[in-house]
Symmetry: C5
Subunit: 307 residues, 5 copies
């Protein structure tokens, strides 16, 4: 499909990038129902690794099968499907060329008690041989293993660029000096978006920010300049602004809410706040098929309406 | 021998793999008494390294000799023989081409008190020069050294793939936050199978899962959805399902049971639960030769009957 | 422009360097209002990474935009603009060739509680592909991670030299054995300048030294030889002397002072003490545009007058 | 000299090895008084590094000189001379071709208090340029640094094999969970021999095992199966059996005993137990020259008689 | 100049070395007033890095300038000048070919509280591009970071050899288990010389040993064999003997003594004890120029007289 003005505008912010990386960014933006709008909805399925198959797939047992997810992503009109190595290997050949694939190159499980730092479980070379469009990498800003994670990400982005692949950063702040609610605090989420952008992320994924403010210095600034943080839309707006004044693509997860109404209300707030899209996993694949499909389509329509 | 429909079906789940890796997977499935059935019985002998020669071989002193094991594997009709570098070097030339060899590339001993993490004791290059068909690698999910193990495995699988060799993962959960009985809990064993599959293992080896449930969140899900975990067959079924809905080869060790009757009863439960086979070491080579041989043949027949 | 006698003199101290590195050092010295004077004023913007976008840019929201800073540096007549990877990527193509760019290759954030050591967030290769003139690297002398930082810097300088790029070292002493005020003590700041010079830095950036003396042995020497440390100019003179008797380029940050008068007074002292220039970030970009622009121009004029 | 039947038999156990490694193993077995018998006596001199020159050489000051040792090894008819880099460099050119040299590639000193792990102090490349026939490497099974040691050994053996050089492993169990007398316990010594063989050692050097049994599980097995451990010969027999049923060359150090009679009595027990030879350092070079020479010759004769 | 018999004799101890390394060793021995005598006096200036410029150079402010030192070394007739990267870079081009340069490739500062281990601050490649004749490397035997230091030294010596450059080891015992006075104890200093020689050092630099004996086992041996340790000459003799019976070049620092008479008395003792020379920094460059020059010349004459 031709490149729309909005996509051209977005791509203009990535002017220093190579044509190869730009081409794959355009591919992500030009696929699915939201093609050409500059918005993205991605189906990510790394919960099997992160929480176990039982907790992830038993609510909708069809989801034990790797085929299920990529089919759901295709059917619902998502822009892309993201998963760890095993799940991508299980479907890459069978569904080749049907939807952009994102290889989640690092992952964590909940069996071990370790400082926040995902293991690197696949490579850019894997992403290439499997026909992927981009790689995904999780960082935990606030972790005592921060340097190791940022440095591995740096190397990963460089390798991906060398083969024309953009990098998507999942930024989940956590660590010794941070309170539990601080992990999704508006100041912390916005800071994580800024760090990701400075690290060279092409697309940044954060959690919907809460009204909590974690850092004393941030609180002072928010109060002094009356930065709006009351509604989710306000907070999303601040996070997007923190990623180079909106010149980097920032997308948000669906959050903890479970009933469909409040979930869609949250998505509307994301869209209103200027989010570039959503990444929605458990809320989609843990519902019965028809319900999960409808939910993804509704989310996509909300972003389409806001484009 | 020609490739049977069942083997073709199994191979269809590995569609994204290279022809070289597929060829060696077929070689494993097409050797021995179980050739073509899609089932595998493997004789593994790493106990000399893991527990010392005395404890491993004194019960049947013929087993001190490296030749003993590979001969037993050939004679009994196993699909393959697996061992650490030294044992493979001792027989690779003499028995070349008589049975697929699996090089166990990492190993632990019980002399040192260290966090669970095997030392890498041989390489894919060793596997090649010794004419092996696959490599074997142990991970300890739950260990504080998880990342190091997963990352080394990732590199090892990539190197093995480059030379057309599949990778077999021994997944033994253990570590600081886990109870002793949790190491074989059904939720933990199934989780370990899922992790191994996501890491790109071609064949996954776990211990027979017990009815114990280790993780509180898992317990809730099992109760909510009435996941059957009462019989060993039930639990095996859950573990196999947890490995991509049965689309990855999962095999089980013989467990702790020592008298032949209960051991064979367990194997029947494994077969009933959909296990792809067994890996049986101590129970075979610590018995007098005729007895060990018969045991292996009986186990093989159980899987043959279930195929 | 032709090379002035002063620039020739400065370059004579770098006699052992390669023509490529020398050429880029001359480029830095020959750009902007201070071109040819041997003085430098650089606009650095890494505060988004180091403290978050909110604290850094909310005081002057135009500064959320990456374009803002490089434009300010160009407009004000600075010698160069320095920033982390993301900010440089955002402007390198659009403003190509308009001002020398310095890629800050390592960075820290304030979310994690870790020993002082910045993560390496970009590479010499990045600097090359983005058309940069030099790289910048932060060391924290006094940190328990000193060796790792010095060794990474060594490798970085070598790589940069290989492609004809000079290295600028930000030297910020801190660490377990050092008091908070010791971090800017005159003896410590001068020591940091000496270390940086010995490590092969082409340009050294330190904080304006205070009259505090941290080390007992240094105190004895200062008293015995009546080393003047009373005025800021005195202390700057000592720091410049400590960098190979003034034969390495040493520049200073603007310090903590916030009101314009005292800030400019400090800059005058820097100039009087023989500083080669200033590096001024927050004090410039956190002011309204016209005010920030004027401040930078005034600073530049002070150095011009002292040249 | 021609290869004897016994040497041919020994070499048959190393069938998977490359011709280059085999050739150098034969060279070791075919040198000196014991040539062709399948027995080895090696003079090792790493005590200068391990305990200092004073403690090692002052009892016989001629031994301060590096020439002394290699001359003693030649004169006494040893199979080989083993030493760290410096000592080998001091004599390799002067005595080139006169006796097989073994480069001890890792070493420890007693100045530092560290976990048991020798530093790698030379390389296979050094061994090559100095004309050595084999390398020697010390492991400390039981050490918390076990994995690092085994992994470095793995790499070293691979490099040595690539240039046709066999590897000799000095296996000295020690570490946090082990009692002092456990370090030479018969079960531990035998376990160390098994580990070394599994790691791919071509020749294994252990200490003469004592009657102490360290591990509770080992004690049970020894009692249950009446494994003889009463005489040194019994224990040596068990250790040799533990190294692939005697299919790996296992040699023993002279132990702590100092008076000649008891020392030679121990050597007789070693020979009776099936040891492939001895490695004798301090007991030889700390005696006056004539006495040390005679001792080595007597030890050699004991093994010759047992061959 | 032609090679004297004494230099030929010294070189005969390095028979296994490559012609390139030998050529540069001869260059060091054949330069300056002591050319051909087999003795060496070297001016080392790493105190700026190790203690700061203030403490090092304020006593004689001309010494702030990098040119000062190399000129002093040339003028006084030293064999070589040794310094860290920055100082060598500052003079290598200007004084090219006038005196052998030794690049100190690792360095420490006193700002950080860390286990004894210098950072690697330059490379063999740096030494080559700067026209150096040798590299210098500091080890701290006794440090918990011993292995890292020895292993890095091993790699450094190998790289230097590859380009025909000898390696000089500064051996300064210190660390957790050692008393302050133990660092210069005669047994410890001699042990450090032995370790350095075994590690492959071509020239060894230790501190003048005191009469203190640190290790209980060493004390027993010294007493048993009446090893003379009363005079400095006695102790120097023991240290030189400990370095391969005098077959490695061992040189000594000037020690702590400050008044010229006692300093020269010490040097006479060094010469009498068979030291191959001195390395004298602070005592030379912290004196006024004429005085420092005379001191160096006097030291050189003492060694000349003893040659």
């Amino acid at each position: 499909m031709p490149v729309t003005d909005r996509v051209k505008q977005i791509m203009s912010w990535y002017g220093s990038e190579s044509p190869g990386v730009k081409a794959n960014l355009v591919r992500l933006l030009n696929h699915g129902t939201l093609a050409g709008t500059g918005k993205l909805v991605i189906l990510p399925v790394d919960q099997g690794f992160e929480h176990g198959a039982l907790r992830s797939f038993e609510p909708n047992p069809a989801a034990y099968d790797p085929d299920y997810h990529v089919q759901l992503a295709i059917e619902s009109g998502c822009n892309a499907y993201a998963a760890p190595l095993g799940f991508i290997e299980a479907v890459a050949d069978k569904f080749a060329g049907q939807i952009p694939l994102i290889l989640k190159v690092n992952n964590s499980d909940t069996l071990a008690k370790v400082d926040p730092c995902s293991a690197i479980t696949s490579s850019v070379r894997d992403a290439q041989r499997l026909g992927c469009t981009a790689i995904g990498y999780t960082i935990y800003p606030g972790s005592p293993l921060r340097n190791q994670q940022y440095e591995n990400l740096r190397a990963m982005i460089e390798q991906a660029r060398d083969v024309g692949m953009p990098s998507i950063v999942w930024a989940y702040p956590r660590g010794a000096g941070m309170s539990k609610e601080g992990e999704t605090a508006v100041d912390v989420a916005a800071y994580a978006a800024q760090i990701s952008a400075q690290l060279g992320a092409h697309i940044i994924k954060i959690k919907p920010p809460t009204a909590h403010i974690e850092q004393a210095e941030a609180k002072k600034v928010i109060e002094k300049y009356n930065v709006p943080t009351k509604t989710l839309a306000d907070r999303v707006r601040h996070c997007v602004k923190s990623a180079f004044n909106g010149k980097r693509i920032v997308i948000f997860s669906g959050g903890e809410s479970r009933d469909t109404a409040s979930l869609l209300e949250d998505v509307k707030q994301l869209a209103e706040g200027g989010a570039f899209g959503s990444i929605m996993g458990r809320n989609a694949f843990q519902r019965p098929h028809a319900e999960g499909l409808k939910l993804l389509q509704d989310v996509i329509q909300i972003f389409k309406a806001s484009a």
